[in-house]
Symmetry: C3
Subunit: 382 residues, 3 copies
Amino acid sequence: MAQTSQEVVQAARKAGSRMADRNTPFIYNEWYVAAFADEVGRSLLRRTLLGRDVILYRTEGGQAVALDNRCIHRSYPLSEGFLDGDTVVCGYHGFRYDVTGTLVQVPSQDRCPKGVGVRQYPIVERGPLLWIWLGEEEADPARLPPHQWITEPDWVCSKGYFHLQGNYVSLHENLLDLTHLSFLHAKSFGTPDYAAAKFRAEINEGRFALLRDVVPTTLPPVWAKPTGMEGYPQAARIVRSEFMAPSLHTVAVRFYDNALPEADRPEFRIRTAHIPTPETHGSTHYFIVHGRDFAQDQEWITQFMHDELFKAFQEDVDGMQHLEQMLEKADDDFFEISVASDRASVEMRKYIKARAEAEAAQRLERTAEQPVQAPSRLAGVA
Amino acid sequence: MAQTSQEVVQAARKAGSRMADRNTPFIYNEWYVAAFADEVGRSLLRRTLLGRDVILYRTEGGQAVALDNRCIHRSYPLSEGFLDGDTVVCGYHGFRYDVTGTLVQVPSQDRCPKGVGVRQYPIVERGPLLWIWLGEEEADPARLPPHQWITEPDWVCSKGYFHLQGNYVSLHENLLDLTHLSFLHAKSFGTPDYAAAKFRAEINEGRFALLRDVVPTTLPPVWAKPTGMEGYPQAARIVRSEFMAPSLHTVAVRFYDNALPEADRPEFRIRTAHIPTPETHGSTHYFIVHGRDFAQDQEWITQFMHDELFKAFQEDVDGMQHLEQMLEKADDDFFEISVASDRASVEMRKYIKARAEAEAAQRLERTAEQPVQAPSRLAGVA
Amino acid sequence: MAQTSQEVVQAARKAGSRMADRNTPFIYNEWYVAAFADEVGRSLLRRTLLGRDVILYRTEGGQAVALDNRCIHRSYPLSEGFLDGDTVVCGYHGFRYDVTGTLVQVPSQDRCPKGVGVRQYPIVERGPLLWIWLGEEEADPARLPPHQWITEPDWVCSKGYFHLQGNYVSLHENLLDLTHLSFLHAKSFGTPDYAAAKFRAEINEGRFALLRDVVPTTLPPVWAKPTGMEGYPQAARIVRSEFMAPSLHTVAVRFYDNALPEADRPEFRIRTAHIPTPETHGSTHYFIVHGRDFAQDQEWITQFMHDELFKAFQEDVDGMQHLEQMLEKADDDFFEISVASDRASVEMRKYIKARAEAEAAQRLERTAEQPVQAPSRLAGVA
């Protein structure tokens, strides 16, 4: 009765067992965007990142700070306390922490316990983005995924955010196979010819791209209007969709008039940074920065593109939510069939799974190594 | 301190262990009503039946179709896609399935993988009801539970539906002991003499009936008005309440004037098909068809009976919901005491449990038999 | 990167393992307040107490009664039934119970099964409080925690209730370290000097007190206005905060003018009975009785104190809710650091944990002892 043969089911399950899904542990040793730079200021912003409950704020000097949100005394959320200068004061019994997370005052006693504090997480600020490091390895800014263009004057950008009720792996997969533009985005920026267009995958260690040349095509309004090619059937839409890191996917598109000789034709380029930061296994902070390198002074284009694009991204958000509800109830009968256009995303999911499992194994090892000491009387701690 | 003696508790638990409850697996090898016939048409209706997420639609020729709702590609719900002729197109990447559930098109490639598809479930249409077969055994229409009368011209019927927040076993049990009419339905169609009326049980393999003769009695308005016996204390109410299958319970009632000699008196008959289809272990699609074989042309009676009855059935729905909340939190201290009027329902629950467990054991066996094959390269599947 | 050294973490976890928290079993062998006396009357009040679903009502003679809420027939909540004289009738099939919980009528049959019923819980009424005994040991009123003053004419009292979304242990801990007045209650009845005031702990078996002398101080309006010391910097605030039992914590405060000689100065005393009854592990019935022994005839003081105090207690309720959300998600990395002012509460938590575990062990033993009898045919029970 099942329409899929047992042979195919077995093979699909075997392949699936190596691919990341919503149950895969998070990869902590990566930079993730914690917030847009302008979200964080002189109050305590609470946010859950990769399952960690953190607070974000800026010092009087403007430096962004990230600390664990749980007071080490009685677990009260520090986000319910307040900033006093650059220190954070717990709203329950007044325990005070400095910007490094070190406990510096216990109001009910003169002496403050030493060697006690909440974890501080390294933060790097780059243009509109605050990147956080939640891992155990050293927080090296050289490991930031490439996104230099966002801060360059050539690129005029706008930004937006979705609280996505879905796992971040599904979002990466969505972005790596844009076949879906013809269906999920049939009413926004997809066109019918998109799904059947020629594509090729580029597979590198930790970098996975799908390239698609939709030529000739008629551009949807979001691209046709700014490039002056409305209703013109000889347009070219050259798309590179690339997984840069678990925390960043970049879609780069070039448009041009395919009827013109290559040397003479102007090119219009847009880029979108899709920046998923897992919140929980079933929800994701979905930051987006979108830019173009043409007609930079035309404010109406910025606004028009932003409005049209975010309507389309809302379709992704809705779709990922439908998907999440299906994946949540996956049982023993579950399997997925992959086809050729999934090649990049299958490799991406295998990469995430392998890294996540290696990291989880390291965590386990580290925990096993911790000596279980006989408790000694600790200075200042009852 | 416990008011029930340990001896009784132990015996009650021993008896209870053989009776179906909300934790009992579903019985799949049965016909269940998936929907009323007029609910299903030329769009995709999503419904969860015995835990399975299915879509229902009609072909252009009017044939009802039921398919699994999960696209075998990336698990997107097909219910978010659309009908194209008789085929279903996934709303994510456009995978297309025919009425048998077979995958017939992958838009991003020329060749379509073979031997791949979603499960199709047999459907049989009978009058106002669409019956579905979700089991592994052969879907034999001869196994439909008896409900011929619903489609016969002698019987004028109306129908209704409740989304019941309770397990279907509790609903069957409710129907098999109508003692509750004097209490749960004290304000609708119950009368005080109902609970104490003589009853007898009929126990057959898979068929369990409770018969109750409430004679003489005064009928409640829902029956008194249509039969012309309002306020008349010499009425007879002869009730047969019967479990026909896990998916059907029929209540048949005869009314007559008990003061008239048997040969001369007219009889008024009503029947109600109570049709529970489990949705989840804690919720049930509760379809109801109610009919009578007298005064068939009096439209006001159809409407009046329908309105009055569904007020009473709402009391059952509310009651089953209260009950479900109690059963959900049953712990180690839980036990139930049965009395004589529970005989039919106790046998019914033992029957359901035995069948459910036998079927679950078969499923386990089948799974164990599946060869875990070395995955081979499958034609058209990456 | 973690700001707390491994040595401290290990010691904290070792200490924490002996302290009660939201996962600790309840202590049943104690008197708990089930309801205020005026909440219970001639209808069925449903309430969950220590996880038990009970009904409370009064007999025609005015005696308060507590019974298990689950009908032993088919588990219907008795709270959906009704009172008939002093008996409770189930709203499903009409099973009837007397005030002792004994089943006395089954409407569908002449004979009523013997030795069957729902559990009745002893109730003791003292002034505005109804105390219930849910344990297995004998319900001895001599074991009621001391709260005599509440019923004495010297003390003018008002009362209130919160449905607290938090565990009762956290509430006891909150009350045992009033350092938090300077922070959580900074805007109500806390003052900045409170946290740093001298304190001492009194540790006795099952009784734990923290004493705090805030001298000299300026009283907050709630105390300053009734005592006539508004804006006066020479006031004394002498606080005794005491855990009397798992079900009662009493805060007793004396106020006086510190500039007057001890012999001459009038003293103003207030007391607050904080009465937590666990509902579930994550929620608590929080009853409060507050009284004073001065200016007893000034109604405005009663009202003013009540209004101001309950604003402050709302801050505790909100705070405990924030805390509960943090404690719910405690994982393997969890630990808490205690300081000197936690001494009484640490001892209190160790005491609760030890008693709870001893009681749980007894329950386990008792269960193991129950003979698993061969079920015999029970009189009147099918």
